[in-house]
């Protein structure tokens, strides 16, 4: 049955006005119906599959919440950055795990008890940047992008399209450093949250 339908389908494709000078309308409708019904048979499973496959497009990241990362007194007064893990609730499909590392930030104490927070992820391709005390800069071990302490691109030929991503910081109760943790799309000059 399947072969017969297939052979009709190919016959239809190959059929030309020359080979059948007087097309029979009934014959044509039969062929068209066979193709339409045969083709529509796969629509249901493919549509069902595509809906599930596309599901991630509609989901938003759980990031963007304000998280207590450190205390002001734990940051060196000389302005040297320190790396801190960001502990929050990690949602991984069906798992929800509270208080686990979801990323990391470099915190740097600035004047007048303000703090700068930089996401450790390189905006070029997503590697983890390294703070190099000897050079007082950040360096990406993957494609050699380097960044100043304020996150700005140091080398004009740097592969990174933008500086390190600065995150909003709030000092609460005089000593608590709260960071609004967020990841951003890599490889583009704009800071687009993911």
């Amino acid at each position: 049955m399947l072969n017969r339908r297939h052979s009709r389908f190919f016959y239809l494709l190959m059929d030309t006005p020359e080979s059948s000078p007087q097309p029979d309308r009934r014959e044509f409708i039969k062929k068209a119906a066979a193709v339409a019904i045969g083709g529509s048979l796969v629509v249901a499973p493919i549509t069902a599959g595509l809906f599930v496959f596309m599901d991630p497009l509609g989901r938003k990241s759980g990031n963007g919440a304000s998280v207590l990362v450190a205390t002001l007194s734990s940051l060196p007064e000389n302005g040297e950055p320190r790396k801190f893990s960001v502990l929050a609730t990690k949602v991984d499909a069906w798992n929800r795990t509270p208080n686990v590392p979801v990323g990391a930030v470099y915190l740097q104490r600035l004047k007048e008890n303000t703090v700068r927070a930089l996401n450790v992820v390189c905006p070029h391709a997503g590697c983890f940047v390294d703070y190099r005390p000897a050079n007082s800069n950040y360096f990406c071990p993957c494609h050699n992008s380097s960044f100043a302490l304020d996150g700005a691109i140091l080398d004009p030929k740097s592969p990174s399209p933008r500086g390190l991503d600065e995150l909003p910081v709030e000092i609460r109760n005089g000593n608590e450093v709260w960071v609004t943790f967020q990841n951003f799309r890599a490889g583009v000059p704009e800071k687009i949250p993911v």
Binding site: S61, A70, S74, A93, H124, F128, A134, I153, P159
Partner: protein
């Protein structure tokens, strides 16, 4: 027998199939240069067989992927061999693909009427590379995780559809369970399925147009069977021999530490055959990455695909040959540059050493009596004092303290040492140094602190220096007793065997002769003017000290610069426990060291 075979042939027509398969004409007779396609088919068969068996033991989720691969590699009978065979055959396949492509181009086998055969080959090349790319992530180790982040971020810069495409491949905006389920479906189902379809098409077209003979023909035409089949079999055997050598040489396939997005991994590199692309990206300044990652590789591939048309021109074949050599030469040059840059980078080398150490350590922990918890192996390293202690120390303590002269991780901090070196803290050896008039004011102990001219230093430099033999003996007993308070793992046996000395030492410690109780407290005796010595160096004592050295039990108001890490909440209780355990040498020790694979 013959009637049975006749019946079978009548029902299936197998004789014609076998005849067509074996008696394909080989123009000019069998030659070694025709073996490459067969070696590739052989490798694919190995991958299907080994992959199916790996599938039977693999579990794709972020809590079970690394764990199941670990189990295959280290626990299951012959698991390391199975993984090794799969891993190194993948490498062999990449090399053979390039050799096969070279043979096709050099022999002009891409020219009309074999265009479709050539194009199906180019698609097969990309599908096999896609298999490598997806397979790299499946063990869910640090190397695969970070390399895949880079690869999927590159996908995201594809014009217009990039971000959505990335989200579909990753299975969301974060890497996790659905990244693995998708990569696994691609690796074990969709891509192999496509490869089988294209191989069928490739072989069909190959048979339709016949083999492209290398001219001049040296011998008369012959059938595929048996001469060419024998050559193909020998070549496949040679490939297998090389793969087996690598499997035994490296005892299976590598497995790094479990993926951890919060743990720095500076040793992230793609598999060696993608290094040229990795290196290429370094030369494209920000904003132009799309050229290096997508446009230029795309154009180069397109030129390769139009070779059949270029080949029709007068000098077309020579151009194609030159192009292929330039392409391979360029890729080789970029690969060498990438390897050279890494070899000359001490930070990268250190990162590789750290990665290997973590990989070996997590296996030791997984094999410990506690085994892997349901939360996954990533928590083994996160809760391991030997792994985390030095990192916490380097970040928080090494700006003043040292551990055996370094920052705990082997590097030298920017700031000069200004507090004690804590290697062997509270051990007999360490206390002997502290109570040595020659050493107490050195940078190893109090030299860099506000106590460099304090009561303790003066006591050691003046009183202890003038001790006679009897007092010296008492002091040594007191050191043994004080050190026993720490209950160090490294001294446990010694402490048990010297209970009598400890008893005498305790009496000396609290007695008037040495004068310790004039400043310190011990159990119920003494003055509270210096850190208490009850339980000195024990886990409880050290955790309390790091939590708040300004507590009246310790330095009180006399505290030098040591932050109250616990009170200020700059370290969690767990982190303080980890660094205390590490300083005290309390961590799981495997009966036999594990060599990272």
């Amino acid at each position: 027998m013959k009637p049975a075979l006749d019946w079978l042939d009548n029902r299936t027509g197998y004789r014609r199939l076998v005849h067509e398969t074996l008696y394909e004409n080989v123009p000019g007779g069998a030659r070694w240069r025709y073996v490459w396609g067969s070696t590739l088919a052989f490798c694919f068969v190995i991958q299907v067989i080994t992959g199916t068996f790996l599938w039977l033991a693999y579990s794709p989720s972020s809590q079970t992927a690394w764990e199941s691969v670990y189990f295959i590699q280290y626990e299951m009978a012959g698991g390391w061999f199975l993984r090794g065979l799969h891993h190194y055959t993948a490498h062999a396949m990449t090399v053979l693909l390039v050799v096969h492509l070279m043979q096709v181009v050099i022999d002009g086998a891409y020219k009309a009427p074999r265009e479709f055969n050539f194009w199906s080959g180019i698609i097969l090349l990309q599908l096999v590379l896609a298999l490598s790319l997806t397979g790299y992530l499946l063990p869910w180790d640090q190397k695969g995780f970070w390399a895949t982040r880079v690869a999927t971020n590159i996908v995201a810069i594809t014009p217009f559809i990039g971000p959505s495409l990335q989200q579909l491949i990753v299975g969301g905006s974060e890497y996790g369970h659905h990244t693995l389920t998708r990569f696994f479906a691609l690796h074990a189902g969709i891509i192999p399925g496509a490869i089988i379809l294209f191989i069928v098409g490739h072989i069909y077209l190959f048979r339709k147009h016949g083999l492209t003979p290398k001219l001049p023909r040296r011998r008369p035409d012959a059938a595929f069977w048996p001469d060419q089949v024998l050559r193909d079999a020998v070549a496949c055997l040679a490939v297998l021999a090389v793969v087996l050598f690598l499997v035994f040489r490296y005892q299976g396939a590598p497995l790094g530490a479990p993926a951890d997005p919060s743990e720095q991994f500076s040793a992230a590199r793609p598999e060696w055959y993608f290094l040229f692309l990795f290196e290429l990206l370094k030369y494209f300044p920000g904003g132009t990455e799309v050229w290096g990652a997508i446009v230029i590789p795309g154009i180069l591939l397109l030129i390769l695909a139009v070779m059949p048309f270029i080949g029709n021109w007068k000098l077309g074949h020579r151009f194609n040959l030159a192009y292929l050599w330039a392409l391979l030469g360029g890729a080789a040059l970029l690969t060498v540059l990438a390897i050279k840059a890494d070899r000359g980078d001490p930070n990268y080398r250190l990162a590789v050493v750290t990665a290997e150490r973590d990989a070996a350590r997590v296996v030791e922990l997984a094999r410990s009596p506690e085994g892997i918890p349901p939360t996954g192996a990533v928590s083994l390293l996160r809760n391991d004092p030997l792994t985390q202690g030095p990192r916490i120390f380097a970040r928080n303590c090494a700006s003043c303290h040292r551990y055996d002269g370094h920052d705990g991780l082997g590097a030298q901090p920017k700031d000069k040492i200004s507090a004690a070196d804590l290697k062997g803290f509270a051990s007999r050896e360490w206390l002997k140094g502290l109570l040595d008039p020659e050493k107490v004011a050195s940078l190893h102990y109090f030299g860099g602190t506000a106590f460099s001219d304090g009561k303790m230093v003066n006591y050691v430099k003046e009183d202890v220096a003038s001790f006679g033999a009897e007092d010296q003996a008492l002091l040594q007993q007191a050191i043994v007793a004080l050190s026993a308070e720490a209950q160090l793992k490294s001294q446990r046996e010694l402490d048990e065997n010297e209970a009598a000395v400890i008893k005498l030492g305790t009496e000396a410690l609290t007695g008037d002769r040495l004068g310790c109780m004039e400043c310190h407290t011990f159990n119920d005796s003494g003055e509270d003017n210096a850190p208490g010595l009850t339980g000195y160096g024990s886990r409880e004592w050290l955790v309390a000290f790091i939590t708040n050295p300004e507590h009246e039990r310790f330095y009180g108001e006399d505290n030098d610069r040591m932050p109250a890490f616990g009170e200020e909440k700059s370290l969690t209780r767990q982190e303080i426990g980890l660094v205390a355990d590490w300083i005290r040498g309390e961590w799981y020790v495997a009966p036999a060291p594990v060599v990272a694979r």
